[in-house]
């Protein structure tokens, strides 16, 4: 039983890993956000993001031209680096979202077959 639980946990981690990019892009659709804000937002929704992992991902998204960045000084406190979706990022987000919905719907049908 312990083995099964561990396997499921590994599988759950892989699911999260595979969906992190989509989750980040979705979180940037409405407004620019900075890294900590993104991590907190995703964790508040139960995704269980490792805070440190968000920055290498954001760095890659920037290198791929999906986000652009800007340091913003709020006046009080210290600056934050805000990420904003580019046109390419928005398009990528939409395509990934459609792919995810197709996949989730297909899996739901398979689940329905067994009930």
């Amino acid at each position: 039983m312990q083995d099964i639980l561990q396997d499921v946990e590994t599988w759950r981690t892989q699911l999260r890993k595979g969906s992190l990019e989509l989750a980040v892009l979705l979180s940037l659709r409405e407004t620019p956000r900075y890294g900590l804000e993104l991590a907190d937002r995703l964790n508040a929704r139960g995704l269980g993001v490792s805070e440190g992992s968000i920055y290498p991902l954001l760095s890659r998204l920037r290198n791929e031209g999906k986000v652009e960045t800007e340091w913003v000084d709020p006046g009080a406190g210290h600056s934050h680096k805000y990420y904003r979706l580019t046109r390419r990022g928005r398009s990528s987000c939409q395509s990934m979202l459609e792919a995810w919905r197709d996949f989730a719907a297909a899996l739901e049908r398979v689940i329905g077959d067994g009930e």
Partner: protein, 189 residues
């Protein structure tokens, strides 16, 4: 900017050192962003500030390895792929795999060279059979053995050479893509 605990300052200093291969602007940008994150968390009263970052070396590798693999895949350079794969290789198996594919590429280049050389030195290049030995390549003048391929060696060497180069590059790209999927940022379990 708020003060950070010493361990966090050490982490940031080490991170900057580990990122030294990046352009200065990009390196400072990354370190400034992580600093900003840690200052925010410290301000919220968090105690284990570095828990999700691991060691500076491993954390820097998440930026460097991914970047190197992505660029090598985009550039389609076999040499770049080998370097990018070896950059993050922490297991001996990776070194063996990349070295083996490097040797296959070398074999491909040698065979292409022999195919060209066969056109100009037909008696000295080919597959030689003499006594109990079999020699592939170029031999010195005057050595014994009969060349058995003739001019068929040219298309044969070309074909095998291209196949070796293509398959090694294909496998390097496959390894790099797989590696990339492994090093991309992960979520905590």
């Amino acid at each position: 900017m708020s003060e950070l605990p010493r361990e966090a300052e050490f982490f940031l200093r080490d991170l900057e050192r580990c990122l030294s291969t990046l352009p200065e602007g990009e390196r400072r940008d990354i370190v400034a962003e992580i600093r900003s994150h840690l200052v925010d968390r410290a301000g919220q009263g968090a105690t284990e500030l570095l828990r999700s970052f691991g060691t500076a070396e491993a954390y820097a590798a998440a930026f460097l390895e991914e970047r190197a693999l992505t660029r090598a895949l985009a550039a389609r350079s076999s040499w770049g792929l080998c370097r990018a794969l070896l950059r993050g290789a922490r297991r001996l198996g990776w070194w063996y795999a990349v070295a083996a594919l490097g040797l296959v590429q070398l074999l491909g280049v040698v065979l292409l060279g022999l195919a060209v050389a066969k056109l100009f030195l037909p008696e000295r290049v080919g597959l030689f059979v003499g006594g109990s030995s079999l020699t592939l390549g170029m031999r010195d003048e005057g050595t014994t053995g009969t060349e058995v391929l003739g001019l068929w060696a040219v298309p044969l060497f070309f074909a095998i050479g291209f196949l070796a180069l293509w398959s090694a590059r294909f496998l390097l790209r496959l390894l790099a893509s797989w590696r990339l999927s492994r090093v991309r940022p992960r979520l905590a379990p």
